[in-house]
């Protein structure tokens, strides 16, 4: 079978890593009639996806994926480039809606409310499900304005003092406040990459979301900035439910409680992070985490 899933990230090509026995990902693409191995469902889900299919035009990017995100857990989504993990993540706050030709089937629920069919407003949804993107993308405005923007448009603050408080609290939670407290009127784009990403996290949490989606938040950062973000994720999980897409298996292992492995648009295996990394049950998962393709 030659079904090659094409996603927003491009054609799912993969090159062999190192000199080990190279495996072509497409030789293993025959996962038709597969069933997700592991435990995709939890008792107390914050968000749940059921039978999700996503298409870009005629190409199917996500094949019948069902997955729960538990309350206050960090779930990591890993998989080779082009496996659809970002596309899947973006279905949770309907960010795929803005991509022309993108179509979605299936159901997503947030606290039992239907996100796609229940008349749920995308503005409301995105206020409850925040997002941090791959590339730090602060607004070309001041640091203060970056954080205050969401609260302001949603009318969360009635006075300037309220707004100041929200900005300070959000910056503190994103562990950025001490670094920028004297620079609040400086442009956010003038910060370093890691600071910018933490500013984006502060911006996301300023509207008090319930869920934060992170799409490879550290892929553009150096190891030190990455470590800080990872620490931050650890602190944030006390208050928020977090879904993180990452290319780095070490990162997934460090920050998440559950890990989901995607392959060519299919969810292959889900389980507690420890188990997935030490005792993968599917051959593809094992090949991926042992680095035979990436």
């Amino acid at each position: 079978m030659n079904s090659i899933a094409v996603t927003a990230e491009g054609v799912g090509d993969s090159s062999a890593v190192g000199n080990r026995e190279a495996l072509d990902i497409h030789d293993h693409a025959d996962v038709s009639g597969y069933e997700t191995i592991g435990w995709p469902f939890v008792d107390d889900p914050k968000m749940s996806a059921r039978n999700v299919n996503v298409y870009y035009g005629d190409k199917q990017a996500i094949h019948n994926v069902s997955l729960d995100i538990g309350k206050n857990e960090v779930i990591a989504m890993i998989g080779p480039s082009g496996c659809g993990k970002s596309t899947f993540l973006r279905t949770f706050n309907r960010m795929n809606d803005i991509i022309p030709g993108c179509r979605m089937e299936g159901n997503i629920h947030l606290d039992q409310e239907d996100v796609y069919h229940g008349g749920q407003d995308t503005v409301m949804l995105r206020a409850r499900v925040g997002m941090v993107f791959q590339k730090p993308n602060p607004f070309p405005k001041s640091i203060y304005e970056n954080v205050a923007y969401g609260a302001r448009i949603h009318g969360l603050a009635h006075t300037k003092a309220d707004l100041d408080e929200i900005v300070e609290k959000s910056l503190r939670r994103a562990s950025l406040f001490e670094e920028v407290k004297d620079l609040l009127d400086q442009p956010g784009t003038g910060l370093s990459g890691g600071q910018q990403q933490r500013l984006c996290i502060a911006r996301a949490i300023a509207v008090s979301p319930e869920v934060i989606l992170m799409d490879e938040p550290c892929s553009a950062l150096d190891p030190i900035a990455t470590a800080r973000i990872e620490e931050l994720i650890d602190e944030l999980k006390e208050r928020y439910t977090i879904a993180i897409v990452t290319h780095s298996m070490q990162q997934a292992a460090r920050v998440s409680q559950r890990t989901a492995y995607f392959h060519l648009g299919k969810l292959i295996e889900v389980g507690p992070t420890k188990q997935v990394f030490t005792m993968p049950r599917h051959e593809l998962t094992e090949n991926y985490i042992t680095g035979r393709f990436g």
Binding site: R126, M131, F133, N137, F139, P140, K141, G150, A206
Partner: protein, 429 residues
Amino acid sequence: MSNQDSYKNTEVIQASLKKRYAREKRFQWYGRLAVLTGFAFLFILLFDIVSKGYPAFTQQYIQLSVDFDADRLGVEPGASSEALYQADYLGVVKASLRQMFPEASGRQEKRQLYRLISIGAEYQLRDYVIDNPQVIGKTQDIWLMAHSEAGAYLKGQVTREIPETDRRVKDTQMQWLDSLAQQGRTESRFNTLFFSTGDSREPELAGIKAALYGSFFTLLVTFLLAFPIGVFAAVYLEEFAPRNRLTDLIEININNLAAVPSIVFGLLGLAVFINFFELPRSAPLVGGIVLSLMTLPTIIITSRAAIQSVSPSIRQAALGVGASPLQTVFHHVLPVAMPGILTGSIIGMAQALGESAPLLMIGMVAFIMDVPGGVTDPATVLPVQIFLWADSPERGFMEKTSAAIMVLMGFLIVMNALAIYLRKRFELK
């Protein structure tokens, strides 16, 4: 690859290197030559305009001792200002000229003598007498505006070397002017009248103010219509409109409209706005509407390009915190795109400022003496005024033409400076 081979390769590359660098040098020289040629032509153009135009900024005055004789004026001493308004000032001017040069005899010579002074002197005297009625019955030295031909001689633009038949200042007039100059009765002053009046049949009385105001009102209407409509059309087409046959058709049409000859827009304005909607003829309102139709494609195309070039990550960031699509556009996309939008709009407005053809069609080519006070008053614009003056046979209008071009260019520079200032301000944010 053996050592022999790699040595040979180095040779080959070395040989080609020289050629490649030579080509680059040649290219650079072509560039410099092109830039220099451009500068040379620009300099010639500016030099020509300025050298022809600067005499228009000075006006020659002649001092006459005017006898404000009550009989000659045809008024009683202590007459009302209405009576003074009707008085015969031209007669007074003529009499004082005859008195100064009694040798002028015969109709022909007297006519020449009277032509030393501008007919505007009549109004100058009238205003003077109304302000100072006590002057009636006295004789006083008064500076009066010289006729444009006499002024040309005093400025040195006309000389005796030119055969008398080829010039309008005759030998006798030259003698009189020379004697006036010897008595210190001629003077050159800055021409304030040029900036404070409208058009006139007499070159020395013609001013740029009516055309300047006309251009200003016309461009104001153009900007108020074309900028918001253009920017919003670009936003809608770029951010909200679905991609289908209809929007493709609209896009093609916008691109084609940008290439439509401007006079066609003038015909449209005549047919639709004047004949059908019966808007006033010759008015900046109609001119502005027509020019905004002409400018819209430019503004829409450049605004769309500017909006397109805004990074999608900013849109995603705004949508991601729950901004509605409209908020995303107005809070984030437009501010970032604004410098580009402004640049395009200014290019469009500059085009509109220099446009005359469509305005001829809607009657803005009229002879306008009064400064327009609003967008519905009859008016003309700078390029049309330049066209009208360039068309006039009097030599005095030649310098006015160049001077008006200088004013037009000044207008353009001010507009561009404003645009650059605004762009810098938006970029800082």
